[in-house]
């Protein structure tokens, strides 16, 4: 044991830090140093020569090797470990994070070394405080967990549970956790993808249908145009023939034929009638709707609407966003309800659960066989004990008899008494052996049940202490009730957390809803779709319905042009038919009139009447024939001119030819055989077909364009589904990893605690009496939570170590440090203990107790103690004798500076 004493500012802490740094060095790597390294640097780097910062120490290992450690703390590049005997650099044996770390010879690393080997002043202080008494147990748990001071295994498992709750959650329908939400997101994304694909497929079909309809309409329009051109050409050719004939006749007869005066007025009328009939028009039978019907239908058509024919994409997008925002809000469901205030006082869930566990602590029972064996052994031992005086008393009686025999001179009696005495003595010796055997058997039986008694005592102590705590906190004392309270507290915590998260999400979702609603109203207002007094959804539905109505109206109004063209054509056809009918009637009446006058016959058919009249003409003689021919030509000319001039007729023919030429532009030369013999009737029918096809095209294109405006981008929907799938995969994988980790960690904790508990108990047992000056004689460790129990010598009762006085806890803590140092070292080396000012907060008596504890521990390992306490140094000088122990007095730094 080494004690280094000195006043404040003698550099004790620097020595402590220097020894530690010399043994373990500091991490060497690129980038910013860790917090603890920075702290070490700030405290101990020399101010006057910061680049010359080194520390050296000589270590002696258990295998006898002497090692010189040199740590280059400034440059971190020249650090080395040298075997003195061999003069060889052995740094490679212990390199850790770039620097030689001698704690590797212990199977530790510099972090574990700091947590296990070095004891700081504040650790002892914390252990001694009543309110932090549980630190003793936590230290043991942490050391058992990872040899460090970060977390116990239980805390790690709790952290994993918490992480799983927040980062994965459950997969219940009502769950709001990431797992469920990602599943919902994936389902939503897949549904949207399906919708997008359906829309896309529908669009492709509509596009094909509208394209085909457009092609069919173009075909029909071409047919209409071709027929119009054909009819116009036919009319133009007829007019040109009339004009040419009229021109020929007018050249021959510029005026009425000569001799016309002498000509028989009857013969003139006969010639005119016969010519008129032969040039009569051919009547056309009109089919399909009459002009009046078409006109009435035209008047019924609506005008072209004003406003959107299909919903504006921006409005649809804003509406979709509102739906999505409301859906997101709806997915939040009801706010998680909180429980009423729970009667837990200021205790946390963990504290209440710990209390329940302590109240529930099982009291181990002695087995029936062990108990029977103990009773039998005790009965036998007591029986033998009760009879132990019979033989000595008999022997004494025989000696008296023998003495009396000698005195009265009866040798036989004396001899008999001596013989009997020998027999009694032999029996006495044999009984003595039997009593010893019975006592050994009793001790063995008691030893068998002792651990159970100890465990029972510890459990009783835990239960009693827990009862006290429960009463102090006004809690029920039944374990089930306390467990139930802990469950409720846990539930309440989860509910509060869920409620807070719900509030946060609800606020954000509500804000998104309001924003989406505002955007929708703005976009609707821009399209004149806002109806005062109605909600945004109602306005949107109204707007969409209006768009549909306008689209239908547009389709209907688009029929007007086709109907007007049909009406005009029908009117022309009807006028032409009426004129032809009038001319036919007039020709027939004239024929019948002259036939009656010339031939006395008027009831035969017109063609028969013509035959009679031509016979009548032939009988009138050759002279009259010339006159008649002239008159006939003259009348033909008048019929061709129809009251107009030759110029007018030629102009009409020229105009008709121009119109026909105009209509023939773009018509295929051979087009179309079907209309070669077309008529106005056929034209009307074709126009109706073309109009129907145009309406079909417009309807399909309107639907197609509306769908195009509302379509979700398939690629983006696929991307969203893929992301959702990846996110779910990530969370599923995370759940697997966390669950496996928790299972393995729980199992490892149980196994290690089960293994380590008897080891710790056995190691501490050999020291406990010494370090507590006989107040406690035995140690037991609970495998469940590594709780330590000690047996009080005076009462034989077991006490929980964490409930003992601060001084005793300090002693037990130091004992634990030594035990754990031995347990956690994985090599054959023995770890020292470096203690800095561990008595700083103790009074004189407790300081001495601590030093006695350390002295006891120094029998198996080196103990280095730094202290400013003069009483401790004095004690050390009085009790520590060299060469096994050393005491050093450090002078103040000022004195050394003077030297």
């Amino acid at each position: 044991m080494n004690v280094l004493g000195g006043p404040n500012e003698a550099g004790k802490s620097s020595w402590h830090a220097a020894i530690r740094a010399a043994i373990t060095g500091v991490k060497r790597g690129r980038g910013r140093p860790s917090v603890s390294d920075s702290h070490f640097d700030d405290l101990h780097r020399p101010w006057n020569n910061p680049d010359e910062w080194k520390v050296e120490a000589r270590l002696v290992l258990d295998d006898g090797r002497a090692i010189d450690m040199m740590q280059d703390l400034a440059g971190k590049v020249a650090s080395r470990a040298t075997d003195i005997a061999l003069g060889r650099d052995v740094s490679t044996e212990i390199i850790h994070d770039g620097s030689p770390d001698a704690s590797r010879w212990l199977g530790l690393d510099r972090e574990a070394f700091a947590a296990t080997i070095c004891v700081e002043q504040d650790e002892i202080l914390a252990i001694a405080r009543r309110e932090t008494a549980d630190l003793l147990q936590q230290y043991l748990q942490r050391a058992a967990a990872s040899r460090a001071t970060d977390a116990t295994a239980a805390e790690a498992i709790e952290r994993l549970d918490e992480f799983r709750r927040t980062s994965v959650g459950t997969d219940h329908v009502a769950s709001k956790g990431p797992l469920r939400q990602s599943r919902v997101r994936l389902e939503t994304a897949r549904a949207q993808l399906q919708q997008a694909q359906n829309q896309h497929a529908g669009y492709m079909v509509l596009m094909a249908q509208s394209d085909q309809a457009r092609t069919a309409h173009a075909h029909a329009a071409n047919q209409v145009g071709a027929l119009e051109a054909l009819l116009a050409d036919r009319e133009a050719k007829g007019l040109r023939a009339r004009a040419d004939r009229a021109f020929l006749l007018s050249q021959r007869y510029p005026g009425p034929p000569v001799g016309a005066v002498a000509r028989s007025e009857l013969a003139d009328r006969v010639a005119a009638a016969v010519s008129g009939w032969k040039n009569r028009p051919v009547l056309t039978v009109l089919t399909g709707p009459a002009a009046d019907e078409i006109d009435a239908k035209l008047h019924e058509l609506p005008t072209h609407p004003v406003g959107d024919l299909r919903p504006e994409p921006a409005v649809i997008s804003d509406h979709d966003e509102l739906i999505a925002a409301e859906k997101a809000l709806g997915l939040l469901g009801e706010r998680p309800a909180l429980l009423e205030a729970l009667p837990s006082g200021s205790l946390t869930e963990a504290e209440v659960r710990s209390l329940a566990n302590d109240l529930r602590a099982e009291l181990p029972e002695i087995g029936e066989n062990a108990r029977q064996r103990l009773d039998l052994a005790r009965e036998r031992a007591e029986s033998l004990e009760r009879r132990r005086w019979l033989e000595p008393m008999g022997l004494l009686l025989l000696l008296v008899v023998a003495a009396v025999g000698v005195a009265i001179g009866v040798p036989a009696a004396t001899a008999f008494a001596l013989l009997v005495g020998v027999a009694v003595a032999y029996r006495m010796i044999r009984e003595g052996h039997r009593r010893n055997a019975a006592r050994h058997e009793l001790h063995a039986a008691e030893a068998d049940v002792e651990p159970v008694r100890v465990a029972r005592s510890i459990a009783e102590a835990r239960r009693a202490e827990a009862l006290s705590r429960a009463r102090q906190a006004n809690l029920p004392t039944e374990p089930e009730a306390v467990t139930s309270l802990a469950d409720e507290l846990g539930d309440q915590t989860l509910r509060q957390r869920a409620a807070a998260e719900w509030d946060s999400r609800h606020t954000e979702a509500s804000r998104q809803c309001v924003a989406a609603r505002d955007r929708l109203r703005e976009s609707l207002a821009a399209r004149r779709g806002v109806v005062e007094g109605r909600s945004e959804e109602e306005c949107y539905e109204h707007y969409v319905a209006d768009c549909d109505a306008r689209a239908n109206q547009a389709v209907e109004s688009a029929q007007a042009d086709a109907l007007r063209a049909a009406l005009e054509a029908r009117r022309q056809a009807e006028a032409s038919a009426k004129a032809d009918a009038d001319r036919l009637t007039e020709a027939e009446a004239a024929l019948r009139s002259v036939a009656a006058e010339a031939c006395g016959e008027s009831r035969q058919s017109p063609d028969e009447l013509v035959g009679l009249l031509e016979t009548w003409q032939r009988t009138r003689g050759a002279s009259a024939a010339e006159t008649d021919q002239a008159m006939s030509d003259w009348h033909e000319l008048q019929a061709l001119l129809e009251g107009s001039t030759l110029g007018d007729l030629q102009h009409r023919a020229q105009a008709a030819e121009g119109h026909a030429t105009e209509l023939s532009v773009g018509i295929e030369p051979q087009w179309p055989p079907a209309v070669e013999h077309g008529s106005a009737v056929q034209l009307s029918r074709l126009r109706a077909v073309e109009g129907d096809l145009l309406r079909t095209v417009m309807a399909l294109e309107t639907r197609r364009d509306a769908l195009a405006g509302a379509m979700v981008n398939v690629a983006e929907a696929e991307e969203e589904a893929l992301w959702a799938e990846l996110e779910l995969e990530r969370i599923d994988g995370l759940a697997t990893v966390v669950d496996t980790t928790t299972r393995l960690l729980t199992s490892a904790q149980e196994r290690v605690h089960r293994d380590i508990a008897p080891v710790i108990a056995a190691s501490m047992r050999s020291h406990i009496a010494a370090v507590t000056e006989g107040r406690y004689t035995d140690v037991a460790v609970d495998p469940a939570d590594l709780g330590i129990g000690v047996k009080e010598a005076r009462t034989g009762q077991w006490r929980l170590a964490r409930l003992l006085s601060g001084g005793t806890r300090e002693q037990i803590y130091l004992l634990l440090r030594a035990v754990m140092a031995r347990h956690l070292v994985t090599t054959d080396e023995t770890a020292p203990l470096l203690l800095d000012e561990v008595t700083a907060q103790s009074d004189a008596a407790r300081s001495m107790e601590l030093m006695r504890t350390l002295l006891s521990l120094s029998s198996e390992r080196q103990i280095i103690v730094f202290t400013h306490d003069e009483a401790v140094v004095t004690w050390a000088e009085a009790n520590l004798a060299p060469p096994q122990h050393r005491v050093f007095r450090l002078p103040p730094l000022d004195d050394r500076a003077g030297q």
Partner: protein
Amino acid sequence: MKLLAFADLHLDVPFAWADHRTARIRRANLRRALENIVRLAQTESVDYLLSAGDLFEHERIGPDTIEFLRATLGGSGIPTFLAPGNHDWFGPESPYARSGWGTNVRIFTEDHLVPEELADGVTLWGAAHRVPANTDDFFAGFHVDRAGVNLALLHASETSALPWQPEGKRPHAPFDAAEIATAGVDFALLGHYHYPSEGNRYAYMGNPDPLEFGEVGQRGAVLVTISGSGRIELSRRSVAVSRVHDITVNLDAPRHRDEVAEAVRAAVGGLDGSVRVTLCGELSSGVELHLPELSEVAPHLDALVVRTRDLSVAYDLDALAKEPTVRGQFVRDANEQVADAATRRRVILTGLRALDGRRDLEAL
């Protein structure tokens, strides 16, 4: 005679790795790449522009893209031949079957090779995929019926190159390179394989604008020059718009996440466009690595995707496994009980972090 051939533009393809904004940028870049192709054709005064399939994705193409295609190709005035592939297969509902492509655009619609005479003595044979899968070998039983230079424009899979294609690539319209000569075809301009390659009688142009990270080879359009003697010469031209980089950052045990961020920042500093960074090497055990945060360290990029591969964490697992502690037992149990190496690594890291008192328990 000069021809400009390209293939596998894949307009309206999804980019699964990207966010919406980046994916839209990349889809827009595909359009710009087609415009570059048309401009190149005009600059080079080519006689014909040829597409060997997968010009777009039938299942995804939107109305706007259809109009863009018809306007760009039809408006160019350059005589253009399109041979539909497995992604833009020809069917009754295909955009190819619609009108409005322009009189200069000719689409091969037959499921067998049909001729188009480009010039006296130069014939282009083309065919279409008419179904999205299971298209047979176009060269099977085929032979040209005329003399002169016979070219083919196809979307098909040369079977010997299949093993070098990315995993999952399917052999649509498979053929053997020797079939080209057997069919009497002098040279085939092909689509389907995105990796650009050439054989004696064929060339794959490759996708003109990057579609994936890690693409190599000179992809783009191929300028084909046919001399009067029938000699065919190829010249590859880049038309890509997107800049894509795939880099690896080897970490040398950074001790905190800012050092990781700095390493990523330094690696992508001189780059532009989209970058994928693969982190490997070793990470100090205390580093809290959050990949989404790292993706934001280079705002000058269109996109930064960060992933890890074989990234070890500086725990001495062998030493830990020897500890007589819960931690040691946990590492031993994990090594024994978790068979899958990747899962085992994640489990061990998660447990060690929990024991270190950390909150960042999601191990990458």
